[in-house]
């Protein structure tokens, strides 16, 4: 590929992907709360309404359940809607349409139809928005067969995975960490896709596999630099998709390093870390483990408002460094 590569923010990369999808296919359109002239709560749609008009960049009333249902119905009947939730927390208002309808219609109808809807969820803490605007609920949706659930961690993946999601015949849920929106990175111009269901080894290492998702990928990479200076060589696996999960990449990595740590922002228990750990325990990689598996996840509490408390509820770089040291040097 000789496409021009520029530095774009994660939000710009998503916006560019949506514009390309709409240019390529007139069935693609955007729906969401305040995504038109306002540009979206996080300015992800930005000025797209000026380019594509109010008929393809549709401001919905504050009706998450109904809006999600309209997107599902439009997808079922030939359109390719991209539905933005203003905050991922508001998925709770639309669970019926996501879980009972979008995920199951194809199955219930014996494969006669598909529901090619894309839903975007600005997720995560760190913005001081407190308990109802800071959650990481991706594992909730990851538990539902019929959905695909992705968490791109870079601007490059944000664009490529969104374009893959639009091309996908099934419902794809995209969880975008709000603190990533301003992160910059190289993004090629034009159309490309990054496959759904494929993890990415972001850093190769010998001593420890860190499986991370979303914003924790960058934190793990930053921790790995510090650990390298101490002689600990960390492999960072960016899971990218939580359903369907790329088991083989994780298994192969653990077989190489013999140690596994999972780092994710969502509440630690009953989540992605449990799934990855159990998957390794059930695989041939189990025999390669030299130490117990470690999970670093969110605290068992709602996200607090106070900035120090807020930081304390989710894994930070020093937490990853400490846990990695303990794991590799056998303190555990």
């Amino acid at each position: 590929m000789d496409a021009m590569v520029r530095e774009l923010s994660y939000a710009q990369a998503i916006q560019e992907a949506m514009a390309i999808a709409m240019d390529m296919d007139e069935r693609v359109f955007l729906m969401g709360e305040d995504i038109g002239v306002y540009g979206g709560a996080f300015q992800v749609t930005g000025d797209l309404v000026e380019r594509f008009g109010t008929e393809r960049v549709i401001d919905t009333p504050i009706s998450e359940l109904g809006g999600a249902g309209v997107a599902v119905g439009a997808a079922l009947t030939g359109m390719r809607p991209i539905f933005e939730f203003q905050f991922s927390d508001f998925a709770t208002l639309a669970m019926e349409q996501i879980v009972n309808q979008a995920a199951k219609i194809r199955f219930m109808l014996g494969g006669e139809v598909s529901v090619p809807v894309v839903m975007r969820f600005p997720a995560g803490s760190g913005t001081g928005a407190a308990a109802q605007h800071s959650q990481s609920l991706e594992a909730w949706l990851g538990h539902v067969p019929g959905l695909k659930v992705i968490q791109p961690a870079t601007p490059y993946d944000a664009k490529g995975m969104l374009l893959a999601a639009v091309a996908d015949p099934d419902p794809v849920m995209i969880f975008e960490h709000k603190l990533l929106y301003k992160m910059k990175g190289p993004v090629p111009e034009g159309y490309y896709t990054v496959p759904i269901g494929k993890a990415d080894i972001r850093r190769e290492g010998r001593d420890l596999t860190v499986v991370a998702t979303s914003i924790m990928v960058q934190k793990a990479l930053d921790a790995a630099v510090v650990l390298e200076a101490e002689g600990i060589d960390v492999e960072v696996v960016d899971l990218r998709t939580i359903r369907p999960m790329d088991k083989q990449t994780v298994i192969d990595s653990v077989k190489k390093t013999s140690r596994l740590m999972c780092v994710y922002e969502a509440v630690k228990t009953l989540g992605i870390g449990a799934e990855v750990s159990a998957m390794i325990a059930e695989s041939e990689a189990f025999d390669y483990l030299d130490a117990p598996i470690v999970r670093l996840g969110g605290a068992e509490t709602p996200i607090p408002y106070n900035p120090e408390l807020e930081k304390a509820t989710v894994p930070q770089i020093p937490d990853i460094i400490t846990a990695a040291r303990d794991l590799v040097r056998g303190a555990r």
Binding site: G66, G69, A75, M79, I105, F107, L109, V113
Partner: protein, 342 residues
Amino acid sequence: MTRASKAVTDSRANLPFVYRQYSAAQLREVLYKMYLIRRFEEGAEECYTRGLIHGTMHLSIGQEASAMGICMPLAQDDQITSTHRGHGHCIAKGAEVKRMFAEFFGKTTGYCKGRGGSMHIADVGKGNLGANGIVGGGIPIAVGAALSAKMMKTGKVVVSFFGDGANNEGAFHEALNMAAIWKLPVIFVCENNGYGMSTSTARSTAVKNIAERAAAYSMPGVIVNGNIFSEVAEASHQAVARARAGEGPTLIESKTYRHRGHSKSDRNRYRTKEEIEDWMSNRDPITLFESELREFGFIDNKGIEAIRDAVAQEIADGIEFAKASPSPDVRDTGNYVYTEQA
């Protein structure tokens, strides 16, 4: 459907709507389908009682004129979303009873290849996007289908059937509002059979008539006697014309009654025998339509007998088809979850 010729319509000038609007053959076909719905559900109930069908089912016996009247002005590629009480809608929209029976029997020849059963019966080829197990679940989906029709300029209209219970779900209110602000070609049809499971509309709903709720969303709210085919068809005809003309949605409240209980678990403790008996004896939609057809000279007793016999044969053949059809292979249980799998 096509109109009756001018000469014929002149001679029927004082008759109710459908007798002016449709040919005798079309009206006899309606009677056939009303019987087909009734006998299909009686057949399904009997198969359930004999252990041939498992799970549960929600019968619409007593509501046949509502399903047929609403679907009468629809073209084949117009679409509907339906409810857990959706067998009648499915047949009225053109489904074959043999494939419906096959679905109830869980067979591969069923409309959903045995994956959906009664509560998810669908016939996408005829525009039925599916029954729904969630009260109100199909209403926003219908609005989405209408948005597709508007954006793709297909000229299709979409009907969303739901019951009185659904009018207290948030999805109902959100969907009606969006349909109204975007002037979408959708018709909301509330089949008010008086009870959401055991709870009467008087106990559950603040307004006396559900159609009154249309005012909150600036759309026409029309009340019809859901047991009189002509009344239902006339309201549907007007709503479809309005939708096709780009003037937006209509809420039709079709007041009707289900003769059977809510589902197979119902002990009928919330309504009296007298009430049920009154609806069955005095307001049965098939009896009412049949009498009108006879009175206005569209059919005679021999014609009615012929319809009943032909329906009985189609039902018997449908059940045989279902019995003889293959069951899905358990190794295929994971099929149809994702598109690339099968």
